[in-house]
């Protein structure tokens, strides 16, 4: 049996080995080796540490320090409410109450009881989804049109000043509808797909079907290009650079930069498998990577260079958005109930507390997008 299992030929194994060694070598280069003390010294240190910790915890001052450590979660001197955004544009946020638009001056408007939403290409409208309905909304909450479909999710709007399309997924599959709510069509049957409109090429929808990155002109329904995005295990997110040349596929342990024109993949290995989200900066020069407890910046021209840490927090972070001018990043910090605005050069941080309460939510509100300076 052993001989038979070992004799199964796996074509391409050596390429896989070379790729993996490249990833490991890069990860190893970033690791700082730890000098290990001798065994006897380790035991002595361990005994001393345990004794000190027990003594500290049992004493009243020690207990007070522990309590204080537990309580210090979040950015100090955070504003108690969102008085303004640090950059131009508006936020789209989904809370338990529904979808909200947050204006630059901090004012908020609840658009309605929708589950998820995204901006129209120029930020003048919002497309929102709830269980069995897709809706196009004005920014004051007025409903332009609705479409009843089962299990609507993942709406994405793209196009020009005069002609737009909305892609979305329902139980039947991947669908597209014109921006005025007409001509709703099925593009592909149901399956596990991530979608993102390709910038610079109106009506070309990028679709990540497992390891294949497919580009389809939704008007002609013709698939105009196919490229490999590498092994499909654990894909979190898929998006495009603003020039539409590079697709970013996010995995928990690495970023893959797919150039569909050349059918090549550049892999940016990350030290641990804790990536939550990643997004290109508006000018495409950087990728912000949100890990479980930190926000780092990767230079797209030098992806193997040291990553710039912009922010680190003591609890899980979630939600990531670039400001439209690319100067600021917004990150959510649920355990602190804070939004943290971080300047992309790492030199300033602004935080806002009581986010859930302000958006009438028991769970931490989800950041759906930061769009479009007026």
């Amino acid at each position: 049996m052993k001989r038979e299992l070992e004799s199964i030929e796996i074509l391409g194994e050596s390429d896989a080995r070379v790729r993996t060694w490249g990833v490991l070598e890069a990860a190893f280069a970033e690791r700082q080796p730890v000098e290990r003390p001798s065994r006897r010294l380790r035991i002595a240190i361990a005994v001393a540490v345990v004794a000190a910790a027990v003594a500290a915890v049992l004493s009243p001052p020690g207990q007070a320090v522990l309590d204080e450590i537990r309580e210090v979660v979040g950015v100090e001197r955070a504003q108690p409410a969102l008085f303004s955004l640090p950059a131009q544009g508006r936020l789209l946020v989904a809370s338990d109450a529904g979808v909200w638009v947050v204006q630059q001056d901090g004012s908020k408007r609840l658009l309605g009881p929708y589950r998820e939403a995204s901006w129209s290409p120029f930020g003048r409208f919002v497309v929102a989804a709830r269980e069995n309905e897709l809706a196009a909304l004005e920014l004051d909450g007025d409903v332009r049109w609705t479409l009843s479909r089962p299990g609507v999710r993942f709406p994405r709007w793209a196009g020009t000043e005069t002609d737009t399309r909305i892609a979305y997924v329902d139980r039947a599959g991947l669908r597209v509808v014109a921006g005025d709510g007409t001509d709703d069509r099925l593009l592909a049957p149901a399956g596990d797909v991530l979608i993102a409109w390709r910038p610079g090429t109106p009506f070309v929808l990028g679709q990540l079907w497992a390891s294949e990155l497919r580009q389809q002109n939704v008007n002609t329904t013709r698939v105009v290009a196919r490229a490999s995005a590498g092994a499909a295990f654990n894909q979190l997110h898929f998006s495009w650079s603003s020039d539409g040349r590079t697709a970013l596929v996010v995995h928990p342990w690495e970023l893959r930069l797919v150039d569909p024109a050349r059918d090549t993949i550049r892999r940016v290995s990350l030290r641990s498998a804790d990536v939550r989200a990643a997004a290109f900066s508006p000018n495409g020069e950087h990728i912000a990577v949100l890990r479980e407890r930190e926000l780092v910046l990767v230079d797209t021209q030098k992806p193997r260079a040291r990553q710039l840490r912009l922010f680190a927090g003591a609890g899980p972070l979630e939600g990531l958005a670039w400001s439209p001018d690319g100067d600021w990043l917004l990150v959510g910090w649920p355990t602190a109930d804070q939004w943290v605005f971080v300047r992309a050069d790492g030199k300033r941080i602004r935080a806002v507390s009581n986010v859930s309460e302000q958006l009438r939510s028991r769970s931490f509100p989800r950041i759906e997008g930061w769009c479009c300076a007026p």
Binding site: M1, L5, I8, W21, F28, S211, S228
Partner: protein, 168 residues
């Protein structure tokens, strides 16, 4: 014995930052790690990711690794558990509709009858066969690695072998 000593020396070297020692560990253990993941998942892309991620996990845990333990079984245990998780997760996703439109996999296998027969087993049965006969774990070690009663391991081995025998 000599091999064990060499491996401990390589782990120690890697812990101190030696790339050549890490490479030696990688060269020794990659073939079986990749093959084991492939035989459980039957998906070459997933096998590459699983083997790669298992090695990355090993690098991350290198400073805490107990050098008295053998490196290979520790790594292979991670690989097989991840491969089983992947296979279970994939079963939950409907990929049936995608088969026509999927590109050719980056890596393909030419395994003949054994490979085909193995594919007909459940991932749990494939995993114990692979651990026992490719990775050479004892039934007790398999039970420990997969967190299963030893009787379950033995019955899966028996049933798996019977099914393979029927197919072959």
């Amino acid at each position: 014995m000599r091999a064990d000593r060499d491996e401990r020396a390589r782990v120690r070297g890697a812990q101190r930052g030696s790339v050549s020692d890490l490479e030696a560990l990688f060269r020794t253990h990659w073939p079986r790690a990749f093959r084991a993941a492939y035989l459980v998942t039957h998906d070459a892309g997933a096998a590459e990711d699983i083997a790669q991620e298992s090695f990355l996990a090993a690098i991350r845990a290198l400073d805490r690794f107990d050098r008295r333990r053998p490196f290979g079984p520790w790594l292979h245990r991670i690989v097989v558990n991840r491969a089983i998780d992947w296979t279970r997760a994939r079963k939950l996703r409907s990929e049936v509709e995608l088969i026509d439109s999927m590109p050719a996999t980056e890596v393909t296998a030419a395994g003949g009858e054994t490979f085909t027969a193995l594919a007909r087993l459940s991932p749990e049965h494939r995993a114990v066969i692979v651990m026992r006969y490719l990775l050479e774990f004892t039934p007790g070690e398999i039970a420990d690695a997969l967190d299963l009663p030893r009787g379950t391991v033995n019955s899966r081995l028996r049933r798996g072998l019977d099914a393979l025998g029927d197919e072959l």
